[in-house]
């Protein structure tokens, strides 16, 4: 950056006008380029919070080297496709796996493997996120999430947390060797043949081999091919596996394309460290004498709260534009909001429904995920600004294997205005 600084020193800051209203400096070269970031000793930074920011981990999508890498005994973090359930037997059931508004079973978005170091009960810990692919349900969800205090609200975005201690019935206590010889200790429960996501506890009454999680999926599968296969299956006893998808393969329905989530630290992308609080400088600090004319003009072009928030969001995201996930479980972690409207206050975030303890921010998903999923851009297709997930701070361990956590949806305003 030295050559840049030299060129900038040679830059003559000429004003096109003779004098200016602002308290302008006499022609002085700009401060040394290093002075931008390391303000440390000299300057008082009372307006710009240079607080210690928590280290944020970013998630990026990659195509897996081969699909066998994303099976559950390798504890993957993945997006799209079908979930690799951590606890393969006690899957979520009943209403918790359906959208609260339309009743359709939810579709798998992503899962992240996020164990907690000092907690023995969460040696293995995975968070699963599911969502209804209908935008109408998401709009209602965003509306209803403010009402969490009135009993259990209906949601269309659900996050499940599952954790296991090191020695458990499903996986060996040794870490996986990643040499194609790893196997889970016991097979999992059968899953629905249509979505491949939820437990298939209902059986097709004629052939007794096809399994479904709900009537809706049974109807869909029947219409799209099972009708012809069913009779065949009744007669043939084996060879059923040839018709039904094998474990881990994509099932009959259209799930979102499958990716692996690769992790990187945000700090690795800091190109210009002296660039922080770019966004705050959108609003010019008042010069010595307040200038109403300039101020009114500034307001037009620079900041209102929403724009400021969006600008800082853009700036943060632009360091790593392909990120789809931001993860930070530390104490002082704050989610990156895209808009200033639609943010929850502390009162809006409920407590853990199992242990009554507080929830803390854990991760958020970004709209780039929609681009990678290839979501269409029709007026009624999915769109969000960000979805932030709050999980139990103590990562409580209760009877239920998959515990529901709290997700907060923030949408862009254009999607909510319909004429």
């Amino acid at each position: 950056m030295e050559s840049n600084a030299q060129k900038l020193r040679g830059l003559t800051i000429t004003s096109l006008d003779e004098e200016d209203d602002e308290p302008e400096l006499p022609h002085r070269s700009p401060p040394a380029s290093g002075g931008g970031g390391g303000d440390g000793a000299g300057y008082e930074d009372d307006d710009e919070e240079e607080e210690e920011e928590a280290e944020v981990t970013l998630g990026f999508l990659e195509k897996p080297k081969h699909p066998g890498l994303l099976l559950r005994h390798l504890f993957p973090s993945k997006a799209g496709g079908i979930p690799a359930w951590l606890d393969p037997v006690n899957l979520p059931s009943g209403n918790s796996r359906c959208c609260g508004f339309c009743g359709e079973p939810l579709q798998f978005v992503l899962q992240i493997y996020a164990p907690i170091e000092d907690n023995a009960a969460s040696f293995h810990r995975t968070l699963f996120m599911f969502m209804c692919p209908s935008m109408a349900c998401l709009l209602r969800d965003q509306h209803d999430q403010w009402k969490h205090r009135q009993g259990n609200p209906c949601r269309s975005v659900k996050v499940f947390r599952c954790q296991l201690p090191r020695s458990n019935a499903f996986y060996s206590s040794e870490p996986p060797k990643h040499n194609d010889s790893d196997k889970p200790l016991c097979p999992g429960a059968p899953v629905c043949h249509w979505c491949g996501t939820w437990k298939g506890d209902k059986i097709c009454s004629s052939c007794k081999k096809a399994r479904y999680c709900s009537e809706k999926h049974q109807t869909l599968h029947w219409r799209s091919g099972h009708k012809s296969d069913c009779l065949q299956l009744i007669s043939s006893s084996e060879a059923s596996s040839s018709i039904f998808p094998a474990v881990g393969k994509v099932p009959a329905s259209k799930s979102w394309p499958e990716y692996e989530i690769a992790i990187d630290y945000e700090g690795a992308f800091d190109s210009d460290s002296c660039d922080e609080s770019n966004s705050k400088s959108l609003v010019m600090q008042r010069p010595g004498k307040p200038d109403d004319m300039m101020q009114s003009w500034m307001d037009q072009f620079e900041a209102d709260a929403d724009n400021k928030c969006w600008a800082s969001f853009q700036e943060r995201v632009s360091r790593a534009p392909k990120q789809v996930l931001r993860y930070c479980r530390e104490e002082n972690a704050k989610p990156l909001w895209a808009l200033s409207a639609g943010c929850p206050s502390n009162a809006d975030i409920p407590s853990c429904s199992y242990c009554r303890g507080p929830l803390c921010y854990e991760f958020q998903i970004m709209p780039q995920l929609l681009y990678y999923f290839g979501v269409k851009n029709e007026p009624d297709s999915l769109d969000w600004a960000t979805i932030v997930v709050y999980t139990c701070k103590g990562s409580c361990d209760q009877n239920v294997s998959y515990k529901e956590e709290f997700a907060w949806v923030q949408l862009y305003p254009t999607t909510t205005t319909r004429s």
Binding site: K7, L8, L11, I13, S15, L16, D17, E18, E19, D20, D21, E22, P23, E24, L25, R28, P30, P31, S33, G36, G42, Y43, E44, F60, E62, K63, P64, K65, D264, F269, C274, D275, N278, S281, L282, M284, Q285, P287, M293, M294, S296, W297, Q300, F301, E302, Q314, P321, K322, A338, M366, Q368, Y371, Y372, N377, P379, D383, Y412, T415, R418, S419
Partner: protein, 325 residues
């Protein structure tokens, strides 16, 4: 800076004077922000045409290497090309992953012209949208002012950059950014300017032959105490204005105009904004061409409603600015 005075328009509306606008500032800009060098300079020619100091050579080099990077890191489509290999380090800067729905629509070329966005007054939140839809955008730094704030330990100086962007054919934008470093301020101002690109309506002074060359009617814009009035001028008059608005008008693609200003025009901020405001109003002025009843078409975000179900073909209401009835 060369060719500051308004150039005579050629038959095809080609503005020679405008391309020499870059000057040394733009070259520096191209130097410090490598990834966007290909937006700033359309080709290496631009940098070469700037004054031949050492700076220009550097920027030549830079735009050359960023071009290579662009060609190499040319990822089509959604998926990462190399299986399993993260491409996020090398082509990070070039590939744009849209964050908004409008961005996704633009990226997959469902929206071809920026006029479709203007038609529905959709807010543009990503500057890459404008870059993709208005390819010939050039920018110029109008002024860089140091501004100061008093702190306990002395003065905290920051730099405020005013940038005007335009394609010389009916689109201009204005951006202001304040930052601790000049380069950052310029970069941020360029982004803000791109976000604020508006269409400019041009018309005729007299006979409607050839392309429109002047403002369609007398318009005036005001900011603070500065008012700028623009009056249609016959072909060949050139832009009769002060240095500051002349630049903006050149970027807008207006070839001939008479202007008159009032107020404290030495305040560059207000002067530029008043001119910009004036240009914004050209499309707001109701003329007899617009008397026909508007037939609405649906926005990309709106569901098809009964209102739009007309038996006749839908008419796009973006008025043709070239030839007017």
């Amino acid at each position: 800076m060369t060719n500051v005075e308004g150039s005579k328009a050629d038959e095809d509306g080609d503005e020679v004077g405008e391309e020499g606008h870059a000057g040394s500032l733009c070259s520096i800009v191209a130097d410090v922000k490598e990834p966007e060098a290909d937006e700033v300079d359309n080709d290496g020619i631009e940098a070469g045409r700037a004054q031949g100091d050492g700076v220009a050579e550097d920027s030549n080099e830079v735009s050359g290497e960023s071009d290579d990077e662009n060609n190499g890191g040319d990822n089509e489509g959604v998926l990462m090309t190399e299986a399993g290999e993260c491409v996020r380090d090398a082509e990070e800067e070039e590939k744009w992953v849209p964050v908004t729905k409008l961005g996704r629509l633009v990226k997959e070329n469902k929206i071809r012209k920026i006029e479709e966005i203007y038609l529905h007054s959709l807010p543009v939140k990503e500057h890459q949208i404008v870059e993709q839809l208005v390819p010939g955008l050039k920018d110029e730094v109008m002024k860089i002012t140091p501004v100061q704030k008093q702190t306990r330990a002395g003065q905290r100086t920051r730099f405020k950059a005013f940038v005007v962007v335009g394609d010389g054919d009916g689109h201009v934008g204005l951006g202001v950014k304040c930052a601790k470093e000049v380069a950052t301020a310029i970069r941020g101002a360029i982004i803000l300017a791109k976000l604020s690109v508006v269409p400019v309506r041009r018309g005729y002074w007299g006979n409607k032959i050839g392309k429109p060359h002047t403002v369609p009617c007398k318009v005036t814009g005001k900011c603070g105490s500065v008012t700028v009035r623009m009056v249609p001028a016959p072909r060949g008059s050139g832009i009769v204005a002060a240095r500051v608005p002349k630049k903006v008008l050149q970027f807008a693609g207006i070839e001939d105009v008479f202007t008159s200003s009032r107020g404290s025009t030495k305040t560059l901020g207000n002067f530029v904004k008043a001119t910009f405001d004036c240009l914004m109003k050209t499309y707001g002025f109701l003329t007899p061409d617009f008397w026909r009843e508007t037939r609405f078409i649906k926005t990309p975000f709106q569901e098809y409603t009964d209102l739009l179900a007309r038996p006749k073909g839908l008419v796009i209401e973006a008025p043709a600015e070239k030839i007017e009835a």
